[in-house]
């Protein structure tokens, strides 16, 4: 009696809604406008891609010692090879560049140890933030343990770019936190000083700050007291980016609900305890994208030191393209520098997205 209900197997989806053909129809040819846009895009690609590949790879010269070796008619990448050391280290004496490499390896190892679970993270942080810079400074500048002295005017290339970027980032972070806290505090004088500083710095271009650092600071110092140009530029850049950092962090502080402040108070925590243990960790996590954006901006802005006469990566490339024996290699130089900056900045932004996901504690509204 009982009829067993046997569903027949589902039919496959219509052929024109799956597979490559359907994808093309949906994504490239869904309407007249879409067809036009697709054709237009192909035209743009046709204009850009083949010439670039031909110039950059097919007819390019990769090895050689002078411009005369570049006979392919395309890019002359040999230029990058010849100047590579200058692009990396500036005019740093080549027999001493191992010191820079050593410092870099040391830093990588130190940061790598963060992954080891048994290491005390507090001591490691202190080591990286306080002891490492001292070691690195003496490695770079020399003058101890028989290391030859290298004047800072010889520092350059990607080394200088990285140095300015890292020092600016590391130093502006705590300063930015202090400024942000000052701006949010209820002490009128401290608050106004912070506001005036932040707003003034943010209203002017970085170049004016750099000019100030290189031209004006010496005028403000007492007779006979004068310090290194690199140091002055570092101070300028740090002050500049700390103002931006302060605003980013302020955004995070404002986003913390009042209940968190009250909760910290009710636990009997004093101001610094409540900030360090309760408020700042939450606020900083909220604004990671903004912080990383500031870092990326700062890294790109290091190129401006060229304008006050220092030769970072871009400055070195610029100088090299004016070498009379390599005339006409401007695009290769810019392509190389552009790629290095692009890789660094793009990498930083992707890394920040990863951190964001990792720190996500799952209070998502669904």
């Amino acid at each position: 009696m009982a009829i067993e209900f046997k569903p027949s197997p589902s039919l496959p989806p219509p052929v024109n809604s799956v597979g490559a053909v359907a994808w093309v129809r949906q994504n490239l040819l869904s309407s007249p406008l879409n067809i036009f846009l697709t054709l237009f895009s192909f035209y743009v690609l046709y204009l850009l891609v083949p010439p670039v590949i031909e110039w950059g790879i097919l007819t390019a010269t990769f090895e050689g010692a002078s411009k005369a070796d570049c006979t392919g008619g395309g890019a002359c990448w040999a230029f990058i090879g010849v100047y590579f050391e200058q692009f990396m280290y500036g005019l740093y004496p080549s027999e001493e560049t191992w010191r820079i490499n050593l410092a870099l390896i040391l830093l990588v190892v130190l940061i790598g140890t963060f992954a080891v679970k048994t290491v005390n993270k507090l001591f490691l942080s202190i080591g990286i933030l306080i002891i490492y810079p001292v070691i690195a400074y003496f490695l770079f500048a020399g003058g101890v343990f028989g290391l030859e002295v290298v004047e800072t005017s010889l520092w350059g290339g990607l080394f200088l770019t990285t140095l300015i970027g890292v020092v600016g980032i590391v130093a502006s972070f705590p300063l930015g936190i202090l400024l942000a806290l000052g701006r949010q505090s209820n002490m009128p004088i401290a608050k106004s000083i912070c506001i005036v500083f932040i707003e003034t710095v943010r209203a002017v271009p970085l170049i004016t700050i750099l000019f100030m650092a290189s031209v004006m600071i010496p005028l403000f110092l007492p007779e006979g007291m004068n310090f290194n140009k690199l140091l002055r530029v570092l101070i300028g850049i740090t002050l500049f980016s700390s103002a931006y950092m302060a605003e980013v962090i302020r955004g995070g502080l404002q986003a913390i609900p009042k209940g968190q402040y009250e909760a910290a108070d009710s636990m009997g925590l004093n101001y610094w305890q409540s900030m360090i243990l309760v408020i700042l960790p939450q606020a900083l996590k909220l604004v990671i994208p903004g912080i990383v954006n500031t870092f990326i901006g700062l890294f790109k802005d290091t190129t401006l030191v060229y304008i006050v006469g220092m030769f970072d990566l871009l400055g070195r490339v610029q100088a090299a393209t004016h070498d009379s024996s390599w005339l006409g290699t401007t695009i290769e130089g810019y392509a190389f520098a552009g790629f290095v900056f692009w890789a660094a900045c793009f990498g930083m932004s992707r890394y920040s997205m990863r951190i964001e996901r990792k720190l996500e504690t799952g209070h998502k509204r669904n």
């Binding site: 994504n27 000083i193 943010r202 790109k300 401006l304």
Partner: protein, 391 residues
């Protein structure tokens, strides 16, 4: 009660208010002391080096050329006039850059959201490439690699009446003839009429619900009336066309390569950032809003214009303001490729010649501060106008 609060273990030093007061007094004293110390050093140093103080130098003859000037300027003019020329150069490039960057940004932002896969990818490549490469490098690229690679004037690239060569872009220069006032009057009149039309259309819509395409009508009106005025007065504009002579191109309006390089670099770079802002703004509008609009029977273009865009603008405007400010400040990088803007003229040449660092740098900072303030005041006004009015 009062016994407890004034009891002995609550000394003045343990009171949060008092400590804050002491801290602030110390802070203020430190700032004042450092300021005084720096200032006295400055006075002593300037006396030592024989640098004069004050702004009297602005009235002295500058004696250096400024290659791009929109107002009359010769080497015999004063530093003050050179400063003014540079100020105009900065303002002009900032405003043009802002307009261009906004157009590029909106187009690219919408392109990234396009349902055409290829267009979206191309826009992504554009954004990710340009915003991750330093602006200065891009400026150098346009100036030293692209524009310098253009042919010499003799072999200019010709495009209609436009000439393109190493010395810049030559375009027809409109020359105003007698009777142009009539055209201006017609233009102004049509604008006044358009405003009246828009106001009337809005009023009528509130009253009766009837819709009138006031913006399209105004546009048509402005074009037609201006054209009629032009025709009636016998087309009082003549174009000074660039002419190719044997070795050079003469006549016409010239956009120098420095100007073109700065403008292109500024607007494409900032455009990439604006594209992301526009994209985020449009994504922030809940999809339900689009669905609701469709269920009311609104066409797609109206849905975008009346429902999505106004809500997206609330998210877009504040970050857009900072991009405009950045663009205005970044115009200072023009100094690196000899575009004579404020930093190049005032903090470069003037400072070198007079040695008056404090005055020059101070003047520059003041101008940039004012420029930033003006842009942000305007954008804040616009933001307020567009912001959510809750009842």
């Amino acid at each position: 009660m009062s016994d407890k609060t004034t009891s002995s273990n609550k000394s003045l030093l343990n009171d949060a208010g008092t400590r804050a007061l002491i801290f602030q007094i110390v802070l203020l004293a430190a700032v004042v002391f450092v300021g005084y110390y720096l200032f006295s050093n400055l006075q002593a140093n300037r006396a030592d080096q024989g640098i004069s103080t004050g702004f009297a130098f602005l009235n002295q003859p500058a004696g250096f050329p400024v290659l791009i000037h929109l107002i009359e300027y010769t080497e015999a003019d004063t530093y003050g006039r050179a400063f003014f020329v540079a100020l105009i150069n900065t303002v002009v490039i900032s405003l043009m850059g802002i307009v261009l960057a906004t157009i590029i940004g909106v187009v690219m932002g919408l392109a990234r959201l396009s349902n055409n896969w290829l267009v979206a990818r191309l826009a992504t490549v554009y954004v990710e490439t340009l915003r991750n490469i330093p602006l200065l490098l891009q400026m150098f690229f346009w100036y030293f690699a692209v524009l310098a690679a253009l042919p010499i004037p003799k072999n200019s690239i010709v495009f209609a009446d436009f000439f393109l060569n190493k010395r810049g872009i030559y375009s027809p220069n409109p020359m105003i003839q007698d009777g142009f006032g009539f055209v201006v009057a017609g233009f102004v009149l049509s604008i006044v009429a358009s405003i009246a039309l828009v106001v009337w259309a809005k009023k009528r819509q509130t009253k009766t619900g009837l819709w009138f395409p006031a913006y399209w009508a105004s546009l048509g009106m402005i074009v037609v009336i201006t054209f009629l005025a032009l025709a009636a007065s016998g087309f009082p504009i003549e174009f000074d066309l660039p002419q190719k002579s044997r070795f050079n191109v003469t006549g016409g309006m010239v956009l120098p390569p420095e100007f073109v390089a700065v403008l292109v670099a500024l607007s494409t770079y900032t455009g990439a950032f604006i594209a992301e802002i526009v994209r985020a703004g449009i994504l922030s509008v809940n999809w339900g809003q689009t669905e609701a609009a469709r269920s009311l029977g609104l066409r797609d273009s109206l849905t975008q214009r009346l429902i999505v865009l106004p809500q997206a603008l609330r998210v877009i405007i504040p970050p857009l303001t900072s991009q405009f400010l950045n663009l205005a400040k970044n115009s200072s990088l023009g100094a690196a490729i000899a575009y004579p803007e404020l930093v190049a003229v005032v903090m470069g040449t003037t400072l070198n010649q007079t040695g008056q660092a404090v005055e020059s740098i101070g003047l520059c900072m003041l101008v940039y501060g004012t420029l930033s303030l003006t842009i942000s005041l305007f954008m804040n006004w616009y933001n307020k106008k567009m912001s959510l009015t809750e009842r």
